[in-house]
């Protein structure tokens, strides 16, 4: 750059401008040239131009490879002609390493023609290395470049080892060291003591092994071997290896030619891969039963000599064995051969060494006979010693032959009597007959011998083991273990020796199935008592959970019940249950229940609350939830309603009774407060001028009923104002009688209107009028009646005008018509009517006679000869209605007196009649139709 600056500083401005224009070109050209240069150099490794500026320089040296970690010094030398032509010298040379300018401080100007640069060679160094120069001070032209490879010299080959495969292939391998990034030749040198063999050159760019031709080595001749590695950067060689190929031999596996079979032995004959004179061998021989996973090895010392056969002994008869072997130099040098190809052979048969395991199942189908299923197991292969062709079953009864059969089956059913039998079974094969197996079928009345005790089960090595304690007797011959699942009646069994005290069940024991295991000791004379236990090979969670339901729901508690999970779904022993219950919008609670429980009461629940409950059954493995169940607690507890209602009823009843009793015995108390004083019309002054009540005729024959005795009421019309009279309350008691109008017993009084009946037959139309008059009765007051007088007549001055201060109507029933039916409904209803009538009668007497006598005549009319009427009167007094009616009298003492008079003054009834007649005569002038006919008819005295 400094040179360029000096050049630029001395040139004119236009000269300065030209390079600016050309600089772009020069860069382009330079880069274009560089690209072309790269392409050309890639093919030729280096580039030397022959003409123009590109022939002006040359880089030396031109190595094809540079060693990593070394320093490389390159020189770029300009031709003299170029220096003269282009007026440039070595100081203008620019070094680049693949388009990257090398800092000038690394340049060294050797002289006017030569510039050098020093490169530290690293793995990141990339070619090409170029030298260029700026023509005319601006345009950089690449003059020369070189391509090189950054690589390594070969490392020293290490770990040279050789192996002789059998006797033909002698291969040596080594570790070539680091990659060199450069083509490196590896050569395996091979020499004998007095002979140098041709080099072994690895094939196919292999750099770590080579196979020496068979004519260049021999056993028992030491070969001196080493590896030489060489590339452009250097040469290296491994340590020498002196080896006798026989010491590194790996023989081919022997070939088993045949196996000669015996009952308990197999003789193996094989062909050795190497002659003994060449390499003496030793062997490994292994064998196993076909299907077994474990090999048995022949002791090595038994096969430590060169041989071509060996006899395996102590083998099981009629057993297929698999055999293989391998070999190695007897000197124990070199390598073991691969295992030979396996060969199978079967040893010869011998007679079975034991009888089959024997057991029975006895079904008593009558008192005398038994069906006995004899069953025995196939002999294990190692006991059968051959192919079992059949079984001989012999049954003896009292030592006398009973039955003998030959069968190929493993069971036999025979019907036996209740006697004891001896069963023997023998198996036979081609070579002979087994020892016999014996089983005693005891007599039916045989008393079972002691059984085992302390049965326990456990799982070990994925087997279900059962352990027991032997009976304290010494003559046990063997044990029989029976088992079956709960759901499968097929019983499996196995036999164990008398010395056994534990065993595992040799069957297809399925996990999560409950097995019932029974153990029977067998004695010479029979079997012992069977002892059983239930067990699982592996427990799991129940398949289903218990379904819980409510049995009884209360306010704060609920009785839950559930069914036992079926055994097949339990998958284990149910250890306990957990009940989870949760109220609406509440937290879940749980309670654990023993597995023996079938119902449980949850207490402390909230009343009138919906609960979600579920039950989880746990085995040793885990639990399973049952379905959810929802229930709602009651609002009231059982009996709570009764507790409330019954006392309330009792209290009401008591109150009622008490009230009744009080009414009976203390009626005055109520009179004061319930019935205020009502003006007594009989004591009213107006009664003095009331019309005379006609004498009534009483015909007890024709009027058997009291009410019929007093159908008519004598009413004194004390005013011309019909409306004032229509409001007289003494009409009200006639209301019940209105219902009987159609029976020509009409009794409407017609007070307050022109309704006074002349005849009961006519009372229907009259009663309507009186009814209309009754509707206004509530507005009528006696005071009005009294003050206006009767038809403007003035009462005698001598008579005292008495009026009631009460404003109450005479009869409450009129004011409260709803109470009337009650009065009608009660048994004394008729009496009540009578009372009203009596009251009206009484009124008539009072109007007529005044004083005490005015009440006696009506009563003589009503009840002079009928004792039933007296009784009814008493009943009337006892009833509310009766009280009510009685209390209508303003002066109760009068009523009492009058009641007593009723009983004593009957003979004086005619006096009353007279009075009534006088009143009637007085009233006839004004309103004869109003009451005369009634009095005449009743009294029978007044002519119509």
């Amino acid at each position: 750059m400094g040179i360029l600056d000096k050049m630029l500083s001395g040139w004119s401005w236009f000269i300065y401008a030209v390079p600016i224009v050309l600089s772009t070109y020069s860069v382009t050209v330079s880069h274009g040239l560089t690209s072309r240069l790269e392409e050309q150099l890639r093919g030729e490794q280096h580039f030397i131009s022959s003409s123009g500026p590109f022939g002006c320089a040359k880089i030396t040296p031109e190595p094809s490879a540079l060693a990593i970690g070394s320093q490389f010094t390159a020189f770029c030398t300009l031709n003299e002609t170029c220096i003269d032509s282009y007026k440039q010298n070595a100081s203008q040379i620019i070094w680049r390493i693949k388009a990257t300018k090398i800092p000038e401080e690394k340049y060294t100007i050797i002289n006017q023609t030569t510039s050098s640069v020093i490169l530290n060679v690293s793995s990141s160094l990339e070619s090409p290395l170029t030298c260029s120069i700026r023509f005319y001070g601006q345009i950089e032209q690449t003059l020369h470049g070189i391509f090189f490879t950054v690589s390594l010299p070969p490392d020293k080959p290490e770990n040279l080892t050789c192996i002789l495969y059998n006797k033909d292939i002698f291969t040596c391998t080594w570790n070539p060291g680091r990659p060199t990034f450069l083509h490196t030749n590896f050569t395996l040198k091979n020499q004998w003591s007095l002979k140098t063999h041709p080099d072994c050159i690895p094939r196919n760019n292999v750099n770590n092994s080579c196979t020496i031709p068979v004519d260049q080595f021999d056993v028992y001749i030491n070969s001196v071997l080493w590896v030489e590695a060489e590339n452009a950067l250097g040469k290296n060689r491994s340590d020498q290896l002196t080896v006798d190929p026989v010491d590194v031999v790996k023989p081919n596996p022997p070939v088993i030619e045949k196996v000669i079979c015996f009952e308990n032995a197999l003789k193996i004959v094989w062909k050795n891969p190497l002659d003994e004179v060449m390499v003496a061998l030793k062997y490994n021989i292994r064998y196993k039963v076909t299907g077994s996973m474990t090999w048995t090895k022949v002791p090595e010392e038994d096969t430590a000599t060169h041989r071509d056969s060996f006899t395996l002994q102590g083998l099981k008869p009629y057993t297929e064995y698999v055999i293989s072997l391998r070999c190695k130099s007897l000197k124990d040098t070199g390598h073991w051969s691969d295992w030979s190809k396996e060969k199978s052979a079967v040893t010869l048969e011998t007679k079975p060494i034991k009888g089959p395991d024997l057991w029975r199942k006895i079904d008593d189908f009558s008192q005398r006979d038994r069906q006995v299923l004899l069953k025995w197991k196939k002999l294990e292969h190692w006991n059968a010693n051959g192919l079992i062709k059949g079984y001989t079953v012999t049954i003896k009864k009292k030592r006398q032959p009973f039955l003998m059969i030959n069968t190929t089956e493993t069971s036999y059913t025979v019907n036996l009597t209740k006697d004891a039998y001896m069963v023997t079974v023998k198996a036979y094969n081609k070579a002979g007959v087994s020892p016999e197996s014996m089983l005693t079928i005891p007599a039916k009345d045989f008393k079972e011998l002691p059984g085992v005790t302390n049965i326990t089960t456990f799982v070990k090595d994925k087997q279900l083991w059962v352990e027991w304690t032997a009976p304290n007797v010494s003559d046990i011959e063997r044990y029989i273990i029976e088992w079956h699942t709960k759901s499968n009646s097929t019983t499996e069994w196995q036999q164990e020796s008398s010395s056994s005290q534990c065993t595992f069940l040799q069957g297809n024991i399925i996990p999560m199935k409950r097995y019932m295991i029974s153990i029977y000791p067998l004695y010479k004379d029979g079997h012992g008592r069977g002892q059983s236990i239930e067990a699982y090979l592996k427990q799991g969670n129940p398949t289903i959970g218990p379904s819980i339901i409510t049995k009884k729901v209360g306010k704060n508690e609920v009785l839950l019940t559930w069914n036992q999970i079926p055994v097949d779904d339990q998958n284990g022993f149910i250890r306990n249950y957990t009940i989870f219950y949760k109220p609406n919008n509440g937290n879940e609670s749980s309670v654990t229940v023993d597995e023996t429980c079938r119902e449980y009461t949850l207490s402390s629940l909230s009343g009138n609350t919906q609960y979600l409950v579920r039950m989880k059954a746990y085995t040793d493995s885990g639990g399973t939830n049952g379905p959810d169940f929802t229930f709602t607690t009651l609002k009231f507890a059982n009996g709570e309603i009764e507790i409330i209602v019954i006392p309330a009823c009792l209290a009401f009843l008591f109150t009622t009774v008490l009230g009744v009793l009080v009414c009976f015995y203390k009626p005055d108390i109520f009179k004061k407060y319930i019935w205020p004083n009502v003006p007594d019309p009989s004591k009213s002054n107006i009664a003095q001028w009331s019309p005379q009540t006609p004498t009534r005729n009483f015909n007890s024959k024709n009027q058997p009923y009291p009410e019929c005795n007093f159908p008519d009421v004598s009413v004194v019309e004390i005013t011309a104002d019909k409306r004032s009279f229509s409001e007289q309350n003494d009409i009200k008691p006639l209301d019940p009688l209105k219902k009987e109008k159609s029976t020509s017993e009409g009794h409407s009084s017609g007070i307050g209107g022109s309704s006074c009946m002349s005849s009961p037959r006519q009372s229907v139309s009259d009663s309507d009028e009186s009814e209309s008059a009754q509707t206004t009765s509530s507005t009528v007051q006696y005071s009005t009646v009294v003050l206006s007088g009767y038809r403007d007549q003035q009462p005698p001055a001598a008579q005292t005008f008495t009026r009631s201060e009460s404003t109450q109507p005479l009869l409450d029933s009129e004011e409260r018509p709803e109470e009337s039916p009650a009065g009608e409904g009660i048994p004394g209803g008729d009496s009540a009517v009578q009372a009203n009538q009596y009251f009206k009668q009484n009124c008539s007497h009072a109007e007529t006679t005044g004083g005490e006598l005015h009440v006696e005549h009506p009563r003589q009319d009503l009840h002079p000869i009928n004792e039933e009427d007296l009784v009814k009167l008493n009943q009337l007094q006892a009833s509310d209605q009766g009280f009510q009616l009685s209390r209508a009298w303003p002066v109760e003492n009068q009523l009492e007196e009058s009641e007593s008079d009723i009983l004593h003054t009957n003979p004086e009834g005619h006096v009353g009649m007279k009075l009534e007649s006088s009143v009637l005569s007085a009233a006839t002038d004004e309103e004869p139709k109003c009451y005369l006919p009634q009095t005449v008819r009743r009294g029978g005295y007044m002519p119509q």
Partner: protein, 206 residues
């Protein structure tokens, strides 16, 4: 032909007789291993030489191979005779014993190669014989190398053996006879070497 310098002869003479005492234990062990190795090699080569002789007779045609054909064994200049008197053989020093073996197998190697050349002309299709001849020549060379290595281990000079004179052109039958004689000499020398190394093995036990 064997050519020994005066110094070599002197050293060789030192080797005769009893076991050299200058050997270190390691050298002795190495020598013993070498002797054992050569013993096994000789056994292998002896077996091969028997096979070679049978195959050779098989491919030469009548009268070769006839049970009653017992031609006289030809002598070859430079090839030491394997047959020595018992006394002479016993009196051989280790060095001389090894030297004779070395010289014999050096020459036999060349002879066997020559026989192979003859047989390539006489029985070009007898591949097994040709391969066996080549193998035997190689094994003889290997045995020679081992003997030389042992001699070096025992600090015996390895003699320089001049190549034997070229065989004169001869009729095929003579070639066959010469070939048979060479194979016989090879076998005889192997037997001799076997005996020699049995002695050496006793002197240089492992």
């Amino acid at each position: 032909m064997e050519v020994l310098t005066g110094e070599e002869r002197r050293k060789t003479r030192q080797g005769f007789g009893s076991r050299p005492t200058r050997l270190s234990s390691a050298q002795s062990q190495e020598a013993a291993r070498k002797i054992e190795q050569i013993c096994k090699q000789v056994l292998l080569l002896t077996a091969n030489s028997q096979e070679l002789l049978q195959k050779y007779l098989k491919h030469q045609g009548d009268p070769f191979g006839q049970p009653d054909f017992h031609p006289e064994l030809m002598d070859f200049p430079g090839l030491p005779s394997p047959d020595l008197s018992q006394e002479a053989w016993l009196s051989l020093s280790d060095a001389e014993r090894l030297r004779q073996n070395y010289v014999a197998y050096t020459i036999l190697t060349d002879f066997l190669s020559e026989v192979k050349c003859w047989q390539e002309d006489l029985n070009p299709n007898a591949f097994d014989l040709l391969a066996l001849l080549e193998k035997s020549a190689k094994q003889a060379l290997g045995l020679r190398s081992n003997v030389a290595s042992l001699m070096k281990t025992l600090c015996f000079l390895v003699p320089l053996v001049s190549p034997p004179p070229a065989f004169e052109a001869s009729p095929d039958f003579i070639k066959k006879l010469k070939g048979w004689s060479i194979c016989r000499h090879y076998q005889d020398w192997l037997h001799r070497t076997e005996r020699d190394f049995t002695v050496l093995a006793q002197r240089y036990p492992l």
